[in-house]
């Protein structure tokens, strides 16, 4: 067990070092887009619209936090891994080391978690100032942590299944961008037809946004959605390990 934890930290260590050298650009690229969303969707529209008894600003902030967790955790894990594989070609070093595939996948995911948490907490702090009624409970923190982990593992899986940089751009356009707008981050899904609503649960950002919103607004917590989110995490983890086993020894 301690060897596995050490190995996971060893895999994370190199990405943390890299982050330390580039922290300014990482911070800027991680928070500019969510702040824009907050400004346009939250502050711009937020004062005049009411959703389910709360202001749109209060409604949308947990969605933007979910979106931030998604985009920075996914991107932080996926793009660093792609750089390692195709630009530095240093990913082979992980595969040629005695570190297990489990430790490699978890370790490479954790940099996404770190980056996701940095951005999400920054947005959360601004969100609390804009809308003091938001509840940051232990349950909210737990969902945020789990969301970052699930999205980072999604990023690792995406980096493994896309064979080129171009492939990642395609994945981004076809999967990531639609998720940004469709998964209940900016709009409530309750008004959608049942079939569409169910279909959107195929995308992991939907249960994350739903759980974060419920926890932040003090609504009944959707434990089934949380279980679904955890299920996605397990699927992404073992999917990544399976791909590594299939493509190498």
């Amino acid at each position: 067990m301690s060897t596995t934890l050490n190995d996971i930290y060893s895999v994370l260590w190199v990405d943390l070092r890299s982050l330390r050298h580039q922290w300014r650009s990482v911070i800027i690229t991680s928070i500019v887009t969510p702040f824009l969303y907050l400004l346009v969707f939250g502050y711009g529209l937020g004062q005049s619209i009411n959703v389910g008894g709360v202001s749109y600003l209060t409604f949308v902030i947990p969605g933007i936090i979910a979106l931030t967790a998604f985009s920075t955790s996914f991107g932080g894990a996926a793009f660093k891994l792609q750089v390692d594989r195709f630009f530095f070609k240093s990913f082979d070093e992980f595969l040629m080391s005695p570190v297990s595939f489990f430790s490699i996948v978890v370790g490479k995911s954790l940099i996404g978690v770190v980056r996701g948490l940095i951005s999400s907490v920054a947005i959360l702090l601004v969100g609390i100032v804009l809308s003091p009624t938001l509840i940051v409970s232990p349950l909210f923190v737990l969902v945020l942590l789990v969301s970052c982990a699930v999205f980072a593992m999604f990023g690792v899986l995406a980096a493994f299944i896309t064979p080129t940089h171009q492939g990642m751009f395609v994945f981004n356009s076809v999967v990531v961008v639609p998720m940004t707008f469709l998964c209940g981050t900016f709009l409530s899904l309750s008004g959608l037809p049942q079939a569409v609503n169910l279909a959107l649960y195929v995308l992991p950002l939907t249960p994350s946004a739903q759980c974060l919103r419920a926890a932040a607004l003090g609504q009944p917590f959707p434990w089934l959605s949380f279980a679904l989110l955890l299920g996605y995490g397990v699927a992404f983890l073992f999917g990544s390990i399976f791909i590594l086993q299939k493509t190498s020894v």
Partner: protein, 290 residues
Amino acid sequence: MGDALKKDLIVIEKLAKSYGDVRAIQELDLRVYAGEIFGFLGPNGAGKTTTIRVLTTLTKPTSGSASINGFDVVKDAIHVKKAIGVVQQHLSLDRDLTLRENMEFHARLHQLGSADRRQRIDELLDYVELEEYADRMIEPLSGGMKRRVAIVCALLHNPKLLFLDEPTVGLDAQGRRRMWDLVRQLNLDGTTIFLTTHYIEEAEALCNRVGIMHHGRLIALGSPLSLREKLGEVVVESLGKESSYRFFDDRASANSYVQTLPPDARTVTIRDSNLEDVFLKLTGQKVDDA
């Protein structure tokens, strides 16, 4: 010492690797002995790098088997990984990190404790005379320095066997000579070396034995001298539109042959044969042309 008395470090039997219809390695049988510098010689696409990828556990063979230090590269991959160090042709260094950080990254991946890490990194930096560059970023370093960094990264866990894939590609003449000195020193210090190269002079300068690969097959195996002896140690090279080569066991025989040539014969050169001649004789092509 005869081959029978030498300890096998690598045993390859009937190894094959295909990518779709392309057969990158075909029925390869080979043994590499502990303590030697073994060279895989051949043009690009001959199967050298694929063989290294199989031996270093990065690629699964299609059929056949390979073992290192008694461990199968597929079934006992973890033990194989502990026994080998690898320097790939493309230098897999993280250019977002300093030299020392790159070394620490490798040391951590190979599960060295913190005291061992510090000691080995300092030792190896001293060994390759790069202490003053230890805390600089990798990117501005010269190609030769980067390659030395990649080698010391591969040595941190004291591997029995070091794979060097085209270790001097892209280096100038001085950098190449320094790299050869380093490889010889590593071997003298007890590391078995398995290198690939398409430079004839590199194989001749460094290797105790060479295997010549062509289209995924091993077409010759032996010491550079024994391969040349089989062919003839002296070659008479007649240059022209279609150059011709005749091989002789000694210079006297070569000189006698030249005397028999008509006075208007094309430009004729008598020289020692080399591994390029061996490759040319076996394949009808030069290494660089193949």
